[in-house]
């Protein structure tokens, strides 16, 4: 299979994001991940006879937040609906979802494509719904285990427009969406634990063709990398099929990450008529405009706005601003570092080069850094105040990164104090000049390049502790004197 430049791929993504509410969507059960099976279950989420759902108001606030963050329109009157199907981990035999009147519509977010272009991706709708439980088929003969702990966990289903044109764009969209949800602190975005799940609708068409091709839906994509690989595979599969005279069948396909391939789900697994109808146990959800306004006022600064501010107000490069706003944690790290007295550009540079470089080599996230922003801020402040040199700062940072610790203590313990005492430096300069008459001669004849050699000698004599700016100034003065 090869990439065919005559075709374009059209992708729409459906994301299911678990909301981090304290309790489930319609009952008081806890939503903590990893409890013993069936320990977070009550008659309501287990759908016993006669029980009724009561909507979690925290979830509504989270949905409104998310809607505002993607510039969507928030329906002041939305409606719940039942999606009916039988499955053992769906206790009621229906999923309470939203169908005709979702809470959020017409949103968007922006990604940066491979060629550096900013691209708008439409978000058709976001609706609230309830998660199902889990069926476990391993470890028991001729039967299955049902764990209802997850049943009733609140989800937002976020449906994009078919605006994505490549696996890379899909990846960027997911990263941006996940980052927004994390900024809002409504979803932990953990794809492996299933709190951020994605299905992809993929079709291909000849370049220039306006009608969409027949699409397939890809499921079982449990990382952004898998989403991208599955889309690439699927686009190639469809192109090959069309080029060899075949046609695409609308179907749902399961991605197999181990085999790097997908297979169609059996007809029975997908042939559902969900018989949607308005949920009679919940009145339409009416949201007061004041509630939306209040939430809007409390909305945190989001990645795009932050990046813009970093560029315009702090003078950061487009690249640094992008890196530092890619996650809420990163941005918080940066801002905290700056608040401790570091210059923004220096802080940006140190975080994106020194810190992230080391973290990436160790396969770690910024939350796992032993260096705290307070410490980095202090380190950079020491450097800015000429108490340590840049070289020392890197050595100190190495120690901080490996073993943790506060820069002042490390400076003390390892004797990293920079010599800024003019008299002391002047004495060393005099000594070095006396030891190197030839170079002094050359300098005075106009070969100013020897300056570097002399500085090196002085730094060597001070074991690198002399303040380079002072050294330069004193040396200049002595040489021209």
């Amino acid at each position: 299979m090869t990439y065919d430049p005559n075709y374009e791929t059209v992708i729409g993504l459906e994301v299911h994001a678990q909301m981090v509410t304290r309790s489930k969507i319609f009952c008081g059960c806890s939503t903590t991940f990893g409890a013993e099976p069936n320990q977070q279950v009550c008659p309501v989420c287990a759908a016993f006879p006669g029980v009724l759902p009561v909507l979690n108001s925290e979830l509504v606030s989270m949905a409104i937040k998310t809607g505002l963050a993607i510039q969507g329109s928030i329906r002041t009157r939305s409606e719940f609906a039942r999606k009916n199907y039988f499955y053992p981990d769906l206790p009621a035999g229906y999923q309470i979802s939203q169908f005709e009147l979702p809470i959020i519509e017409h949103g968007q977010l922006h990604i940066v494509t491979d060629d550096g272009v900013r691209k708008r991706i439409g978000i058709t709708r976001i609706h609230m719904e309830v998660d199902a439980g889990k069926s476990v088929h391993e470890g028991i003969q001729g039967a299955s285990w049902i764990d209802l702990n997850r049943t009733g966990t609140p989800l937002l289903e976020i449906v994009s427009e078919p605006d994505l044109r490549s696996a890379q764009e899909a990846g960027e969209y997911l990263k941006k969406l996940r980052s927004i949800l994390r900024y809002l602190q409504v979803c932990d975005g953990n794809m492996e634990e299933g709190s951020f799940r994605c299905d992809a609708n993929v079709s291909v068409r000849k370049l220039g063709q306006t009608a969409f091709g027949t699409r397939t839906e890809l499921k079982n994509l449990n990382s952004i990398r898998n989403v991208m690989r599955a889309i690439e595979y699927e686009a190639e599969r469809q192109i090959d099929s069309l080029e060899s005279g075949g046609r695409i069948v609308q179907e749902t396909r399961l991605w197999d990450a181990n085999q790097n391939t997908s297979r169609p789900m059996r007809g029975k697994e997908e042939a559902h008529d969900y018989r949607y109808f308005p949920e009679p146990d919940l009145p339409p959800l009416v949201i007061a405009q004041e509630r939306i306004d209040t939430i809007a006022r409390q909305l945190p600064e989001l990645p795009d706005a932050k990046a813009e501010r970093y560029r315009n107000d702090l003078g950061l490069s487009e690249y640094d601003a992008g890196v530092l706003t890619s996650s809420r944690e990163m941005a918080m790290f940066f801002e905290e570092t700056v608040s401790r007295g570091a210059q923004p550009k220096a802080a940006a540079n140190w975080i994106s080069v020194e810190l992230l470089g080391r973290l990436n080599r160790g396969g770690m996230e910024i939350e796992q850094s032993k260096v705290t922003p307070e410490q980095l801020g202090r380190l950079l402040a020491l450097m800015q105040n000429n108490e340590i040199s840049g070289k020392m700062a890197k050595q100190i940072f190495d120690i901080m990164f490996e073993s943790g610790g506060d820069p002042d203590t490390i400076v003390q313990e390892h004797g990293f104090k920079q010599v800024s005492d003019t008299a002391a430096i002047a004495a060393i300069v005099d000594q070095v000049l006396a030891d190197n008459p030839l170079q002094v001669q050359q300098y005075r004849e106009g070969k100013t390049k020897v300056m570097g050699f002399l500085v090196g000698q002085i730094m060597k004599a001070t074991q690198g502790k002399a303040n380079p700016a002072s050294v330069n100034a004193i040396l200049q003065e002595k040489l021209s004197g």
């Binding site: 287990a46 006879p49 035999g93 299955s144 009145p283």
Partner: protein
């Protein structure tokens, strides 16, 4: 006087003055149940121990001064209200051994008021039926003529009360299930405004129509019961947030100035002649009490049955999906796979009428049919509700027959579902419009069987229904007639 013949109000006076203890009263009812229930089959479960323990606590409350008007009153509860650790069957094999780990709001409120729950009354399976013949636990017999049906689906609650095997009962009404059996057994049956009483713990048939309500001998007793049962419940998002009036204080003996609408559509040519006659006499009584009669029209009345038989089964088909043999209730023997488990559990656990309605409901919601059936029915439902709103600009209450005729013989309509469905023709629109309706006895036919009339009020105007019914009962003897057993 036999204490089982007292009204609730009279019994409270006896209990307050220590003329009788709650234990004696409860024991008298339990004895009567032992004697009559084998003939009537009104109770599925009798909770002797629970009732006697509750009676003991009631006596304590009379001693320590914390008694309420319901303290020590022996009550029968329709078997679709979940009662903690007391079997709740919903009239079905599916739940024949189901013991809920939680209490319905209705029974919790009764218990908190000190009422004595005697047991759980028979009903059509999942409240689907108008004759109480679809119960897995056998048909209930009408105490006025044991070869006849008592109505349904709250047939057990009606028969238990008519046979004086309870002092009051609780029913539920989705399309007439309180009012129709009340009419056929000579009782006062109140279906409050949709959402007036919490549905929490009441096993759902059709969620947008279901409403609990009291069945009593008198409107005054109903007022006492409603006072306790009504009110918003945080566990039921569809329950109404509104003050609960003191329904007893608003009872009156005169109806001066009251305008009662007589909707022409409720008096068709096919109406039973004796029922028509009883309603005409009732109108005269009401005029004598000071009310005026106004002819009105509810033009969408004739769409009631088709609209109801789309919406109710649609909701039921979804509500009953949870009975899958996995977490509670009946499960078939040795299922060979998941599909077999579902198919046999549900085929064996549900009766024919329930299956018929699940199929109807599944069909009307299915892809390609939704717009033609369910969506259209919702539109008609709004038109029906608007009919009532329009009419209430000119009248305070409506008066109609409750049923097209008196109690029919067992088995007569069992195999003719459409004929059976038509027996709710006068009650269904009240549910579709979410209004309060009350049936009370207003005469008898040539066989001595009770005839009922229905009063319908605007939303949340239960006190108007109860006041009119009380005034009528102050002037007529019908509610005092008792079947001979």
């Amino acid at each position: 006087m036999d204490p089982t013949q007292l009204s609730l109000v009279q019994a409270h006076a006896w209990l307050s003055s220590r003329q009788i203890s709650a234990r004696e009263l409860t024991a008298a009812f339990l004895e009567r149940i032992d004697r009559l229930n084998p003939r009537i089959n009104a109770y599925i479960t009798v909770d002797r121990e629970g009732a006697m323990a509750a009676a003991q606590r009631a006596d304590d409350r009379f001693r320590n001064g914390t008694a309420t008007p319901l303290t020590g009153i022996p009550i029968g509860v329709k078997d679709l209200f979940c009662t903690e650790n007391l079997t709740t069957t919903c009239g079905s094999k599916m739940l024949a051994r189901f013991r809920p780990p939680y209490e319905s709001t209705v029974t919790r409120k009764l218990k908190e008021a000190g009422a004595v729950i005697l047991g759980k009354t028979n009903m059509d399976e999942f409240a689907m039926g108008s004759s109480n013949e679809t119960s897995f636990f056998g048909p209930v017999r009408n105490p006025w003529d044991t070869e006849r049906i008592p109505g349904g689906s709250s047939g057990g609650s009606a028969a238990a009360l008519a046979a004086r095997m309870a002092m009051a009962t609780i029913g539920s009404d989705t399309g007439g299930s309180i009012r129709q059996p009340a009419a056929l057994t000579g009782l006062t049956g109140l279906k409050p405004t949709y959402g007036r009483i919490s549905r929490f713990g009441m096993i759902a048939f059709a969620s947008s129509l279901d409403q609990a309500g009291p069945m009593t001998w008198t409107a005054e007793d109903a007022a006492i019961m409603l006072r306790v049962l009504a009110g918003h419940d945080p566990k039921d998002s569809t329950s109404i947030q509104a003050e609960v009036p003191d329904y007893v204080n608003t009872l009156v003996n005169r109806l001066d100035g009251l305008r009662i609408g007589i909707p022409e559509e409720y008096f068709p040519d096919s109406l039973d002649r004796e029922t028509r006659h009883a309603l005409e006499e009732a109108q005269q009584v009401l005029r004598d009490l000071g009310a005026s009669m106004v002819s009105v029209s509810l033009p969408h009345t004739r769409y009631a049955i088709p609209t109801y038989y789309i919406i109710a089964p649609a909701e039921a088909s979804s509500n009953l999906a949870r009975y899958d043999g996995i977490r509670f209730g009946y499960r078939c023997e040795d299922p060979k796979d998941l599909k077999d488990l579902y198919t046999r559990t549900r085929s064996e656990g549900f009766g024919a009428e329930v299956k018929r309605r699940i199929m109807l409901g599944t069909y009307v919601l299915s892809s390609g049919y939704y717009d033609a059936y369910y969506r259209k029915a919702q539109k008609v439902r709004r038109l029906i509700a608007r009919d009532f709103q329009d009419v209430y600009t000119g009248v305070d209450l409506l008066l109609t027959p409750t049923t097209p005729g008196t109690a029919f013989p067992l088995g007569e309509k069992k195999d003719d579902p459409v004929a059976m469905y038509l027996s709710d023709i006068f009650t269904i629109n009240v549910n579709l419009a979410g209004l309060p309706g009350l049936s009370l006895p207003c005469g008898r036919d040539h066989q001595g069987l009770p005839i009922g009339m229905q009063l319908i009020a605007p939303v949340l105007k239960e006190e108007r229904l109860l006041a009119a019914a009380h005034a009528f009962q102050s002037a007529t003897p019908w509610h005092q007639r008792k079947p001979e057993l």
